[in-house]
């Protein structure tokens, strides 16, 4: 509770003190306590990767509590610099006073887009397209080879930049020839997973016998479905190895790119679907796990901060990062002791980048700790800087340069590291890592899969 919610004086001798409601009943989200908690130490500003390289960005303290106060006067619009915020959310974990900075930024950005942005502008149309990747991806993924060919053409990239302001410097991510959900259905869906989980539990046997069923609902997100199904498959195999039955509920985009582009109505629609489906999975006795650090961030923090559908808090409180869940519910490190890796990732030294959205969940050290248990794996943390891409941010022509300037520290550290392969849990961080260094990038779950299950064996068995 902030001091603002507390009465400041006590009528002498009266124990039954009733605070008086001074402010009218709030019709929208009341961010006043958060704004009042800011004592202007400016720690958030020193963490903002954008303010460090871009003269025109006034920083998180302005975008949050200061702008909120200015907005109390009717004659102030939201400052258009709010669109320069990349939504990395580093300011949240910087604040020593619990000011909900990213919640304020999300709210201000939503209001700016809703009330001040021209809906026919190139910027709006472009942002809408980027934010709603989930709606376009199925088209590309229907004819993946054609889509990959067309998007790889320099003419397409040139058009993208000229027409839409999508940076022509970047290579668009390739669509997988088979989506994760297609693979999942072909494999027999939940029924197959249930059998495999039972078998695994029986095989683990001995001291590890667990009679009660273990069940998770997997929130794969868009990228692992359309672009990197190998990450999603790795999660399935690793969880089944521990005897978990996996459910793959219907799901929409987590909302991360929509928040970042101020498309709060789009985000609300997606969140409503996700909360409904995931709440149903909880009813079925599953916990929710996600493999993408921004998806888990969104469900855990942004949903309860911005929406109040029935079950939102429950879903948020029961959603986990996929590796963290295993760490807490299984003896993951014990299981990894003595394992090693063969196949494509063998003899790889990894250059690990902790995504900002993992950092904000207290997960920045986790990957290094877990991988240390695998024989022959040498992982190097490339430092605490932001990769700079921040989802759709670095795709925009006007932010490309800022994005690369922010990323330069990480690129330098990756190149200095004695490593062959990049490693991270965020899809767009991995794009940036590859773009800036030419490294191949993999996901922590793929490394765990290689150690625990072995890629070759599984591929043969399927």
């Amino acid at each position: 509770m902030s001091d603002a919610e507390r009465p400041t004086d006590d009528p002498a001798g009266d124990d039954e003190f009733e605070p008086i409601q001074v402010f009218p009943e709030a019709e929208e989200m009341d961010l006043r306590p958060g704004a009042d908690d800011c004592y202007k130490c400016s720690t958030c500003d020193t963490n903002c990767p954008v303010a460090e390289v871009d003269d025109e960005f006034p920083g998180p303290k302005f975008q949050g509590p200061e702008q909120w106060r200015l907005k109390r006067q009717d004659d102030h619009d939201v400052d258009d610099s709010v669109m320069k915020c990349s939504n990395c959310m580093r300011c949240d974990s910087a604040c020593p006073s619990d000011v909900p900075l990213s919640q304020m930024h999300n709210t201000a950005r939503g209001e700016y887009v809703e009330e001040q942005m021209d809906k026919f502008s190139r910027e709006y149309v472009r942002n809408r397209i980027l934010a709603n990747y989930r709606r376009l991806a199925p088209l590309g993924s229907m004819f993946p080879r054609t889509a990959n060919f067309v998007m790889g053409l320099s003419a397409t990239q040139w058009l993208g930049e000229k027409l839409l302001g999508i940076s022509g410097e970047r290579e668009l991510p390739e669509f997988a020839t088979e989506t994760f959900r297609e693979w999942w259905t072909k494999r027999g869906g939940n029924a197959t997973s249930k059998k495999r989980a039972q078998k695994a539990r029986a095989k683990r046997g001995g001291t590890q016998v667990q009679s009660d069923e273990k069940r998770i609902a997997y929130f794969h997100g868009c990228y692992a479905n359309y672009n990197t199904p190998e990450v999603a498959k790795a999660l399935v195999r690793v969880y089944e190895h521990f005897g978990y039955e996996i459910m793959v509920p219907d799901q929409h985009c987590s909302g991360t790119p929509m928040f970042a582009n101020g498309m709060l109505e789009d985000a609300r629609r997606s969140a409503e679907t996700n909360v409904r489906e995931l709440a149903a999975a909880l009813e079925d006795g599953a916990d929710i796990v996600a493999s993408c650090s921004s998806c888990s961030m969104s469900i855990r923090q942004e949903y309860p901060e911005l929406f109040d559908f029935e079950g939102t808090k429950n879903v948020a409180g029961n959603t986990w990062d996929a590796v963290e869940y295993l760490r807490v519910h299984e003896d993951l490190e014990g299981e990894l002791e003595g394992t090693s890796i063969d196949g494509a990732l063998a003899d790889s030294n990894f250059a690990y980048h902790a995504p900002c959205h993992a950092r904000n969940q207290g997960l920045d050290g986790q990957t290094m700790e877990v991988l240390a248990a695998i024989d022959g794996v040498d992982a190097h943390d490339v430092g605490d800087s932001c990769s700079g891409i921040s989802g759709t941010y670095g795709w925009k022509a006007e932010h490309y340069e800022t994005s690369m300037k922010i990323g330069s520290e990480m690129f330098d550290h990756m190149e200095d590291a004695d490593a062959k392969t990049g490693l991270t849990e965020c899809p767009t961080c991995s794009m940036q890592m590859e773009h800036g260094t030419g490294y191949e990038i993999t996901h922590t779950l793929e490394v765990l899969e290689a150690a625990l299950v072995g890629t070759a064996r599984e591929a043969g068995a399927q």
Partner: protein
């Protein structure tokens, strides 16, 4: 499964980091959990031990002379003066070339951004050429977009304070910065990367433009002081480059929050943690704890079995053999207050305070404020004590500003107490586990 380690340190500031380093040095597997970024980002980066005696005498020439006279319950009295020396030596080892002052027991006098002079035991090398005991004349340079440092005012204050040199202040424009509220990281980044900037004379680099601006203001001074924004990752190179170009010594004047010297110290400590294999978890609070069976029988203190870390609603158990509480004081929120009480929020350790809150303060703002001494009382093993002077838990120690019985702001003892108590708590936690 809980996340398991030998020693768990709660709090990531100077005390917490020192405790973690000291425990790791003795071969224990240590984890440091920090909710938010540490208040080192607010800190000047100076390592003071004792600038003024609790009664207000000072500035003290030799802080160690005064340690023996501290009242019972003062953190230095609890750990003893040898531990203070050991902790400083431990710090010197970690700080390496980045800090100066270890050649003497006497306090150094470092000019601050307000033009006062602060007695301190160790200081960043970036401030070394600025010491007030040095009799060379100094030019102080401020920037019109950085109102936290008013150079002419600071120079007059220094002269009024009786420094043995002439101080002069000028305010100039920082090349490449146009906005009135540019962040200190922006200044540092421009200099670190020596980015190209536009000046009236055309395009040049940030360092070049800055030295050209200063050169015309020099009137024979052999040292120039800047607010502490001279680079972050490459601060030493920036300072050396500016000094070389200007042909004078260059120093930094420590600033208020947010503070680059504090951030550089934080970086150095966290690099040391990584080197020693300390596992660091940040961004999540410890919200609760569970006790196990008391190890000293039914009447002995309780033993903490594990603590609970909150990750956006999921509760993650963390278990260790020994725990160190280094969550800070009223600013760091390791000690909190409500209308009726002052309390320690994680373990609810006893915090002595008057029942009537009107006795928590005195009307003279700069007077002897009781609230400034609020914090945990501890035994000589740094274990928090309950109202009956018995240890609250058998395996919990406390370090840094969460401790009571001293007023760091008045005494100028904040960093020293964090170092000494962090060092002792970390070492004791490590050796306890070995038994």
């Amino acid at each position: 499964m809980a996340i398991e380690d030998d020693v768990l340190v709660i709090g990531g500031g100077l005390a917490g980091a020192t405790a973690a380093l000291a425990a790791a040095d003795r071969g224990r597997q240590v984890r440091l959990v920090s909710y938010k970024q540490s208040t080192l980002r607010h800190a000047s980066g100076l390592i003071d031990v004792l600038g003024y005696a609790p009664a207000g005498d000072g500035p003290l020439v030799d802080p160690f002379d005064a340690l023996a006279d501290l009242p019972e319950g003062h953190p230095y009295e609890r750990v003893g003066s040898e531990a203070v020396r050991d902790a400083l030596a431990f710090f010197d080892d970690i700080a390496g070339e980045a800090y100066a002052g270890s050649h003497t027991d006497a306090n150094a006098l470092v000019p601050t951004h307000g033009g006062t002079v602060k007695p301190t035991a160790r200081y960043p090398v970036s401030t070394a050429a600025g010491l007030a005991s040095d009799d060379r004349d100094a030019l102080l340079v401020g920037f019109d977009t950085l109102p936290d440092f008013e150079a002419p005012l600071a120079a007059s204050h220094l002269e009024a304070a009786g420094v043995p040199f002439e101080a002069r202040g000028v305010t100039v424009r920082f090349p490449g910065i146009t906005r009135d509220d540019a962040k200190i990281t922006r200044y540092a980044h421009l200099l670190d990367h020596d980015e190209s900037v536009e000046t009236a004379a055309g395009e040049t680099t940030a360092r070049d433009a800055l030295t050209e601006t200063i050169r015309s203001h020099l009137e024979g001074e052999s040292r120039v002081g800047f607010p502490a924004i001279l680079g972050d990752e490459r601060a030493d190179a920036v300072r050396a480059d500016l000094a070389d170009r200007l042909g004078v010594d260059v120093f930094e004047v420590p600033m208020g929050p947010p503070s680059l010297p504090g951030m550089r110290l934080e970086d150095r400590l966290y690099d040391a943690l990584e080197e020693r294999g300390v596992r660091v978890t940040t961004g999540v609070p410890v919200v609760d704890y569970e006790t196990g069976a008391g190890e000293t029988g039914p009447n002995g203190p309780e033993r903490i079995d594990h603590v609970v870390v909150d990750r956006n609603g999921s509760e993650i158990p963390h278990r260790a053999d020994q725990y160190v509480l280094a969550t800070g004081g009223l600013v760091g929120k390791g000690v909190r207050s409500e209308r009726e009480r002052v309390f320690e929020p994680i373990f609810d350790c006893h915090v002595p305070h008057a029942a009537d809150r009107y006795d928590w303060f005195v009307d003279d703002v700069f007077g002897d404020q009781p609230y400034a001494r609020f914090g945990l009382p501890v035994d000589r093993d740094l274990r928090p004590l309950d109202a009956a002077d018995e240890p609250e838990f058998s395996n919990l120690r406390a370090a840094g500003a969460v401790l009571g019985g001293y007023d760091f702001a008045a005494e100028k003892s904040g960093a020293g107490v964090s170092l000494a108590t962090g060092y002792v708590a970390g070492r004791r936690a490590a050796s306890e586990g070995e038994r």
